[in-house]
Amino acid sequence: MKAIFFSFLLTLALLVPSLAQAQCDTIANVCYKHMTQQYLSDGQQYRALLLNSEVAEFNSTFFGNTTYRIAACSGLKDGQLVIRIFDKQRNLLFTNIEHKNAPYWDFKFLSSMDCIIEAQLLDPKAKSGCAVLLISFKQ
């Protein structure tokens, strides 16, 4: 009986990280609906598990004369993730706070540049949440 009980506990312990990953996976699938047919995925999926007011930092290179779509999601509803996009000198280029926490936005880069994308849960009281970022470009 004791062995069964402890096997159960161990199984539960091993399952927890998988459950967290599954949460991210579901959010990524929900987020993907913002990528319409004219946009091509960059072939990557960016995710980070955020606790409370933690901020995830994503570094990305964007090529000039290209229009990108960035989708940012956390949870199953839109608008749960705040994003801020900075250049390498930390000049703020965009934040979705100014646009009703829009879950996606398009960016036309006239010249190539490196950016830092910060993602943070909208609700600072939230215990945790998976932040998913998807980047695609217009053909």
């Binding site: 539960l12 995925s41 006239l110 215990k127």
Partner: protein
């Protein structure tokens, strides 16, 4: 659905507590307890750590798009031949060449070489089986691909999506090393394309030179992604070659000027007006071209 109502940190704490209790009740000593705690912590890091080394590597399809835009003709001899697959016996080589063949696939699709595209997809399926990501490149994808051979946009979308699924699967399963290698392979092939074509017949040579110079930061990001695997078998020599190439890219002069972005609220579009200029001498271009070719050839052999 219940999962989402449970705070993950609390779940982690419960899991850690239960695992520690289990080890203690089994009479495990201090060492075993520590091992379990470290295992749980590394699982936590697996999810959170993306944040501290989260770099995006531009898609090699963007490079192929630029080549086409610059009037470069289709050049099959530039691609890695499918028969080379027999040379790839290690996981490192397989993952790298999964990236190389992915870039080749994007290139042949863009130039509407349907039969070549099917050949590359078959090779990619074989390699993805070997790397353990067969879910993304399954028989269903092959059939969809076959039935859309005349539709370039659909093929590009399918292949990009398959690579995104693979990337997600590898990250979910704590195989970020393979994910980084696939990106590296794709990047090397894209750089190889550009450096080979820049000396050929193109309508906008300066755009290609600019794109080559812009790879400076992407290469830095790639090295940052791979560095933690440096001591692992098959990585050291490869990363050293990347660092050697980066030492040449360090000589590329880049000047950045900030300009305020403009936003079109109605169309959810922000135009980023900042500019970056790239200065790359002919001599440096020649050196980068040679080193890129040597690196790429070492990857595909």
């Amino acid at each position: 659905m219940r999962l989402f109502s449970l705070p993950i940190p609390a779940l982690r704490m419960v899991a850690a507590g239960l695992a520690l209790a289990f080890m203690a009740s089994c009479g495990g000593g201090k060492k075993e307890t520590t091992d379990v705690a470290e295992t749980l912590d590394s699982n936590k890091a697996n999810i959170v750590a993306v944040g501290d080394k989260l770099f995006s590597i531009p898609s090699p399809i963007q490079t192929a798009l630029l080549l086409k835009k610059c009037g470069a003709a289709y050049n099959k001899s530039m691609l890695n031949i499918p028969a080379n697959i027999t040379h790839y016996s290690t996981t490192v080589k397989k993952a790298l060449n999964l990236g190389v063949y992915g870039a080749d696939l994007g290139y042949v699709i863009l130039y509407q070489q349907s039969q070549d595209a099917m050949g590359y997809l078959s090779i990619i399926k074989k390699l993805s089986d070997d790397v353990g990501i067969s879910g993304a490149f399954n028989e269903q994808l092959l059939k969809r691909f076959q039935s859309n051979l005349g539709n370039r946009d659909s093929l590009l979308a399918m292949s990009s999506e398959a690579y995104r699924s693979s990337d997600a699967f590898l990250k979910e399963n704590d195989r970020t090393d393979a994910s980084a290698l696939i990106l590296a392979g794709g990047w090397i092939e894209g750089l190889y394309f550009t450096t080979q074509m820049v000396s050929g017949k193109v309508t906008d040579k300066s755009a290609l030179i600019q794109r080559i110079g812009e790879q400076k930061t992407t290469l830095e990001n790639l090295i940052a992604l791979l560095t933690k695997y440096y001591q692992q078998e098959g990585y050291t020599e490869f990363i050293d070659a990347l660092i050697d190439l980066a030492s040449e890219f360090d000589k590329v002069e880049m000047t950045y000027t900030y300009q305020k972005p403009t936003t079109d609220e109605a169309n959810k579009l922000t135009t980023i007006n900042c500019t970056t200029t790239v200065k790359l001498s002919d001599e440096l271009l020649k050196t980068i071209t040679e080193k890129a070719a040597a690196l790429r050839n070492s990857v595909i052999q």
